[in-house]
């Protein structure tokens, strides 16, 4: 919308906003004031690399968990697929992260400080703790595959390091999956910030669904039981958390339902639940397992792109910044620091 002046915006409202979380139903104002319809906050300058990184990071984390569990449970094929997938996904996500920078050659400046107030700094250090053991576990797996029964000391050492490294990677994996939600929420981007309560659960569920689905597709069915259970559990958790998230976000849930992000979120829901159902019903059918795994992976991709794109849409429309703030002020409840 463009106005001739700082005009009242009288566009129609999205129709699905209703009560949330037990609060009284409140009819949002039909109009709000803006400066020529221009955005108040700026959207993150992030392109496809960031949601792709978030998907791949989640996939790596879930795969490391499967690899560690399979190692302890003695499922060799599941362990191998978990460790190798984790390394591949991690490598892709690192490349995506670096290339998204305005100055990629200065990537290492991320390591010149540790800042708990910056989720990106925290995430960098989480990845720095997670990456080496995940890589070592994958290297051990490769060594075991290429040089089976080798008596050479370095090879035996590497293979022996596989278990502790894999377990360590599994321990650091949940923060890898969860912190990306904080990364988005710790911004002034309305649809990211307002999602902070449930978004970590959405992203962790999505990570579990993607990793479980992929492993169930590539591991022999008799070893894939844990992967199937992780996939179904993750898909259900994601769907529930996402539903709850939209109800808690008030007006800022609108961008998750409209336009391109809305289509992505609907596709994510259909793909994830269909993939979960297929995984449950696949039995010994490899074809069904592969199709289900593909659906779960695609669903996870759609979730990440949908959430990221919805946030950017919410930043570009002043409505999502101004209206909730104006409502707070008009209720006489502007944000104030209370000593105590």
């Amino acid at each position: 919308m463009t106005g001739t002046t700082a005009d009242r915006d009288t566009r129609g409202r999205g129709g699905r906003r209703r009560t949330h979380g037990g609060e009284t139903a409140m009819v949002p104002p039909a109009e709000f004031t803006s400066y020529y319809g221009r955005p108040v906050v700026k959207p993150a300058p992030w392109t496809w690399e960031i949601p792709a990184y978030m998907f791949a990071g989640g996939l790596a984390a879930g795969s490391s968990l499967l690899g560690a569990g399979a190692d302890l449970a003695g499922h060799e094929a599941l362990r191998r697929s978990g460790r190798l997938t984790a390394l591949g996904a991690l490598g892709f996500s690192m490349a995506a992260l670096v290339s998204d920078l305005g100055r990629p050659e200065r990537f290492l400046n991320m390591m010149r400080t540790v800042k708990v107030t910056s989720p990106m700094s925290v995430g960098t250090w989480i990845l720095a703790l997670y990456g080496p053991p995940a890589g070592l576990a994958a290297a051990a797996e490769v060594a075991g595959m290429l040089l089976p029964g080798s008596k050479a000391a370095p090879v035996r050492l590497l293979v022996a390091a596989g278990r502790p490294a894999g377990l360590l990677a599994g321990l650091f994996a949940p923060p890898v999956a969860a912190y990306t939600a904080v990364l988005l929420s710790d911004t002034a981007t309305p649809s990211w910030h307002e999602a902070y309560r449930e978004l970590p659960f959405v992203f962790c569920g999505s990570a579990a669904a993607a990793a479980g689905g992929l492993a169930a597709a590539i591991v022999p069915p008799e070893q894939a039981g844990p992967a199937r259970r992780l996939a179904v559990g993750g898909a259900v958790a994601e769907a529930l958390a996402e539903h709850r998230m939209e109800r808690s976000m008030g007006i800022t849930a609108e961008p998750l339902r409209t336009g391109v992000p809305g289509r992505l979120m609907r596709a994510a829901r259909v793909l994830t639940l269909a993939g979960a159902a297929g995984t449950l019903l696949a039995g010994r059918s490899r074809a069904v397992a592969v199709a289900s795994g593909a659906a779960l992976l695609a669903g996870s991709v759609c979730t990440r792109f949908g959430v990221v794109r919805a946030g950017i849409a919410s930043a570009l429309d002043p409505r999502y910044t101004v209206v909730p703030q104006r409502e707070r002020v008009d209720r006489g409840e502007p944000v104030r620091h209370v000593a105590g």
């Binding site: 700082a6 108040v40 998204d100 800042k115 969860a178 620091h337």
Partner: protein, 336 residues
């Protein structure tokens, strides 16, 4: 140096950042009631800080063809055209040209030979335009008013851009301001999304400009104030709409000014960003506005996102533990 209010609540930002006995906190008081929209601040800022141009576009938004603050615009003058009627204009004591106001006939015709020449038939009368408009309603009031406001980085007490910067490129100066180190920033773009005022931006171009790919914003002329000079915009402002100085003193001055305007009947006059208990714990650059903040493109109740960071990490921790437990359960949950 983390204290109780390091994430939210009133603090002296320089002391909170670790400076011992820092100089007085510096800031801007932008009194929009005397802004005449000359854009000298925009120009002075561009020149002093060597900001590249953004091209020359006509935006169709009154006299504002700049649009918004951004990587290449560190001062931005907003022009709002409002139907009057809701607010009767009050003489704001703006500097003008020509004879004293009383000598001007309402029609704008010059009184005697000393006044400005009467405008040619059909030409816009600049004097009247400055005063609010050329057309009048029955009561003699102009039918619209202009609001002009020079916007700038707020140099928040709790600056989200600085909080979320992962490289330490953004830092708190001894004057309590927030500055980007161009040679450290790697262009991650996190500060852009974190700023509740939409100020900082990653420079996209033009090609060949310096610092492309790097986050850029007002430095409160860090390279001038350290030498005792005032920032370029304040220096250039012909009406003292932009006032630079010690924040404490500016706040007192602003309180007196807003009280005076309110006493004179300017109902919409209010301060914005002056309150150390607000969502960003007050700003170093604050404003006197004549209407709601959103009219000028400012958020009505901005909050530093980092205020909620502890809860965000808590929720993420719970989700991570749930994922770990879920993975463990997947292996314990039977053999299939």
């Amino acid at each position: 140096m983390a204290g109780r209010n390091s994430l939210f609540g009133p603090v002296d930002p320089a002391q909170d950042a670790g400076y011992e006995a820092p100089p007085a906190r510096k800031g801007f008081f932008t009194d929009t009631s005397v802004c005449i929209g000359c854009k000298a601040c925009e120009v002075a800022c561009k020149e002093w800080n060597l900001l590249p141009d953004d091209g020359f576009d006509l935006l169709g938004s009154s006299y504002d063809n700049t649009g918004a603050l951004g990587a290449n615009t560190w001062r931005h003058v907003a022009f709002v055209e409002q139907p009057a009627g809701r607010v009767a204009p009050v003489s704001l004591g703006m500097p003008g040209v020509g004879p004293p106001a009383g000598a001007l006939a309402p029609s704008g015709a010059s009184a005697g030979g000393l006044g400005p020449p009467a405008p040619a038939e059909g030409a816009p009368n600049l004097l009247e335009a400055l005063d609010g408009g050329t057309e009048t309603e029955g009561d003699g009031h102009p039918d619209f008013r202009w609001l002009m406001s020079s916007n700038v980085c707020k140099h928040c007490t709790h600056a989200a851009c600085l909080d979320v910067c992962p490289t330490g490129a953004l830092f708190r100066t001894e004057f309590g301001t927030v500055v980007v180190q161009d040679d450290v920033c790697n262009g991650c773009g996190y500060c852009v999304a974190a700023c509740p005022f939409g100020v900082i931006e990653r420079r996209k171009g033009p090609a060949g400009a310096r610092n492309v790919g790097i986050a850029q914003k007002c430095t409160l002329c860090y390279d001038r104030i350290g030498d005792g000079l005032e920032p370029a915009c304040a220096k250039a402002c012909p009406t003292e709409s932009i006032q630079y100085g010690d924040l404490d003193e500016l706040r007192e001055r602003a309180d007196a000014r807003v009280r005076r305007l309110q006493d004179e009947g300017v109902e919409g006059a209010r301060l914005y960003g002056h309150d150390p208990h607000d969502g960003v714990s007050g700003t170093g650059a604050f404003f006197l506005l004549l209407d709601e903040p959103e009219v000028y493109g400012l958020p009505p109740d901005p909050v530093v996102t980092t205020r909620d960071l502890p809860q965000m990490f808590n929720r993420a921790g719970m989700a991570g533990l749930a994922l770990l437990a879920g993975a463990a359960l997947s292996f314990l949950g039977g053999r299939r």
